[in-house]
């Protein structure tokens, strides 16, 4: 036992990095080859996101803000895919904006991956529009409260917003009954709540998908100021399973496309990494208490 404790105390941290790499890579290989994913049970916050979108009637405009960049893509891209998937299936008018400079490219990728691939009948400018990036952070949100066209005068493709059918009837941000933000930091979900939701007097509902780092800070806003919350990859996997089960064709046994299983695939590596971390925490505590006991014995 004492030899084992000695090895633990002097363990090179790089062995832990290697163990973490194996615990993440192993499940990725297994899931990638077998195609099997872990079952998910949606929690109330994920169900609330689904219900908030499902409650809207077809043709209702929704504002979707991509407030992230590729650095957070591992967590947030699956959420973006599933959110747009449900909105497109529901027939909502999707107005995409970005408060992060790389957001417009991510919007284009999501449109290509979901709308152009699976909903080719939806027309750009009519059923959806990408208004691109606008610099200014919170000030853009404040301007949107009074004049939406002033905040986003032209689309990403250079068309004046007055000529865009998808924006018919939109004068201010509170003309959107639902705001969806996919958020990785500042500006993001917290700023939307502080500057738009609080000032709108309850006219707009808001749901968000955010990174794990942001999630604990956003829970206090649920369910009064925030109507639904997808926290980190776990929230994404829950919501993804919910959307997939509701949109899966009932009469066929066709496989769900891989792009709609991205979050659920990443829950395998999560399991491996978390088991390793739990084991390391237990081992670390054993080593700590053993060391303390030996010191107490030595001094007495």
């Amino acid at each position: 036992m004492s030899k084992f404790i000695t090895i633990l105390e002097g363990l090179d941290r790089r062995w832990i990095f290697l163990a973490m790499a194996i615990s993440v890579a192993g499940p990725i290989l297994f899931i990638g080859i077998t195609g099997k994913t872990l079952p998910e049970t949606p929690t109330p916050t994920a169900r609330a996101v689904y219900r908030a979108i499902e409650a809207l009637s077809p043709g209702t405009p929704v504002l979707i803000s991509f407030d992230f960049d590729p650095a957070s893509g591992g967590e947030l891209t699956p959420m973006a895919t599933s959110l747009v998937h449900q909105c497109a299936a529901r027939g909502l008018r999707m107005v995409f904006i970005a408060l992060w400079p790389l957001g417009p490219q991510l919007i284009d990728e999501t449109i290509k991956r979901v709308i152009l691939a699976d909903y080719p009948k939806l027309k750009e400018g009519v059923d959806y529009v990408n208004l691109g990036f606008q610099s200014g952070n919170e000030s853009v949100m404040k301007v949107m409260l009074t004049d939406f066209a002033k905040a986003f005068p032209i689309t990403k493709n250079g068309v004046a917003v007055g000529d865009v059918v998808a924006l018919k009837g939109i004068q201010r941000v509170d003309n959107f009954p639902l705001l969806i933000t996919i958020s990785a930091g500042y500006p993001g979900a917290k700023e939307w709540i502080q500057y738009v939701i609080s000032s709108s007097g309850g006219k707009i509902k808001m749901v968000t998908g955010c990174t794990g780092v942001q999630t604990p800070g956003l829970y206090p806003y649920y369910p009064v100021q925030l109507n639904g919350l997808l926290g980190a990859i776990k929230g994404a996997a829950e919501y993804e399973s919910l959307v997939n089960s509701s949109l899966a064709p009932k009469d066929t046994s066709a496989a769900i496309p891989a792009k709609y299983l991205e979050a659920q695939r990443r829950m395998g590596p999560q399991l491996g990494a978390h088991l390793l971390m739990i084991a390391l925490i237990i081992l670390g505590n054993i080593a700590f208490f053993a060391q303390r006991n030996s010191k107490v014995r030595a001094t007495s």
């Binding site: 090179d12 790089r14 990095f17 973490m20 790499a21 993440v24 890579a25 990725i28 290989l29 899931i31 990638g32 080859i33 195609g35 650095a71 957070s72 893509g73 591992g74 967590e75 400079p101 990036f133 606008q134 610099s135 919170e138 000030s139 404040k142 005068p153 032209i154 250079g158 068309v159 004046a160 709540i193 502080q194 500057y195 939701i197 609080s198 000032s199 990174t211 794990g212 780092v213 999630t215 604990p216 206090p220 806003y221 009064v224 100021q225 926290g231 980190a232 990859i233 776990k234 496309p257 891989a258 792009k259 299983l261 695939r265 990443r266 590596p269 999560q270 990494a273 978390h274 971390m277």
Partner: protein, 337 residues
């Protein structure tokens, strides 16, 4: 055996496995594109007559599309191997591994990747700042005709107020740059004061509305929260949902009061106040634990995404999207044998 030798062996094994992977089955890390010819009819105007503009776009496609097309017609030109995309793929894999190599120790590969990231980010922010802020907002207001005719034909004409506001913004911006001047650096204090004043004003109002008032209201919860089923309204409260909802409310109220007590330093933390503060510490510790757990989950998700990229796009070991024809499992089997 010294640790450094062990690690050399580990890295050598990985390099050998990648080398073997390159030579078996379909190989690895190649990108293909599809040729799409585009054309648009240009209407006649005062300067040019009517014409048809033609161009070719190359869109990335799955390798199996290229292979299927080659099998059907080896001389086809619609699909092609893309050197540019393939080099991009290898560079992405190299930089991913170079960043990961820091986990072993600092090395030139990591420093190169770090320098490239910083350089690219700085350049990108410069370009974004110019084209998304200066051109549409400042130049679009002050030299609207030039910007409208040359860059953004749909840019609406600015109002007089916008032009005046942009003149003010330009003046503040130039004053801010005085920080760099050898004399007159004090002039930059004025725009800084303006920025701080506006930011404070915006944030105080929003924080009071959304955090102080709204969160205080959200804390006023009934300690007994009756849950009545819509189906069995006649039979009264549902026992367990009522207990759970009430317990959640009690925990919330107790947690808020105890955490506030912990941060209330006007009273010595002894007796009732001391016990409440101790409970407050426990709440805070649970909160920090939850935050740590969520952070770990986020970081593991990012690691999984990079490893997925290496296994799928680079090594062609897995193929969840069905981009390739050859059975992945057989390729792995042959690699292991």
């Amino acid at each position: 055996m010294k640790p450094s030798k062990t690690w050399v062996i580990v890295v050598a094994v990985i390099v050998v496995l990648v080398g073997i992977r390159m030579t078996i089955g379909q190989g690895m890390a190649r990108a293909y594109v599809e040729r799409i010819d585009q054309s648009v009819e240009v209407k006649a105007n005062d300067i040019h007559g009517a014409s048809t503009e033609k161009w070719t776009e190359w869109h990335p496609v799955a390798p199996k599309k290229f292979e299927a097309a080659q099998k059907a017609d080896p001389s086809q030109t619609k699909f092609a191997f893309s050197w540019a995309n393939t080099i991009g793929l290898w560079l992405a894999a190299f930089f991913t591994l170079a960043i990961f190599s820091f986990l072993y120790r600092d090395n030139p590969g990591y420093r190169l990747a770090e320098a490239v990231i910083i350089g690219v980010s700085a350049a990108y922010w410069g370009v974004i700042g110019f084209w998304d802020t200066l051109v549409p907002k400042l130049f679009g207001a002050l030299t609207h005709t030039l910007v409208h005719d040359q860059v953004l034909p749909s840019l609406p004409a600015p109002t007089t107020f916008q032009v005046v506001a942009m003149c003010f913004a330009l003046a503040l911006g130039l004053m801010l740059l005085m920080r760099l001047a050898p004399k007159g650096g004090w002039i930059s204090l004025w725009p800084i004061s303006f920025i701080i004043g506006v930011t404070a004003g915006l944030k105080i109002v929003s924080h009071v509305e959304s955090d102080l008032v709204a969160q205080s209201i959200a804390t006023f919860k009934p300690l007994v929260q009756p849950i009545v089923s819509s189906e069995s309204a006649q039979s009264g409260w549902m026992l367990w949902p009522t207990i759970w909802a009430s317990l959640a409310n009690i925990l919330l109220v107790v947690g808020v009061l105890c955490c506030l007590t912990y941060f209330f330093f006007s009273v010595e933390h002894k007796g009732v106040a001391g016990r409440a503060a101790r409970v407050g510490i426990m709440y805070l510790m649970i909160t920090f634990g939850a935050a740590f757990g969520f952070t770990v989950m986020g970081r593991v998700a990012l690691l999984a995404a990079r490893i997925e990229f290496l296994f799928d796009d680079w090594l062609w070991l897995i193929d969840p999207a069905g981009k390739r024809i050859v059975e992945v499992a057989s390729a792995i089997g042959s690699m292991l044998c």
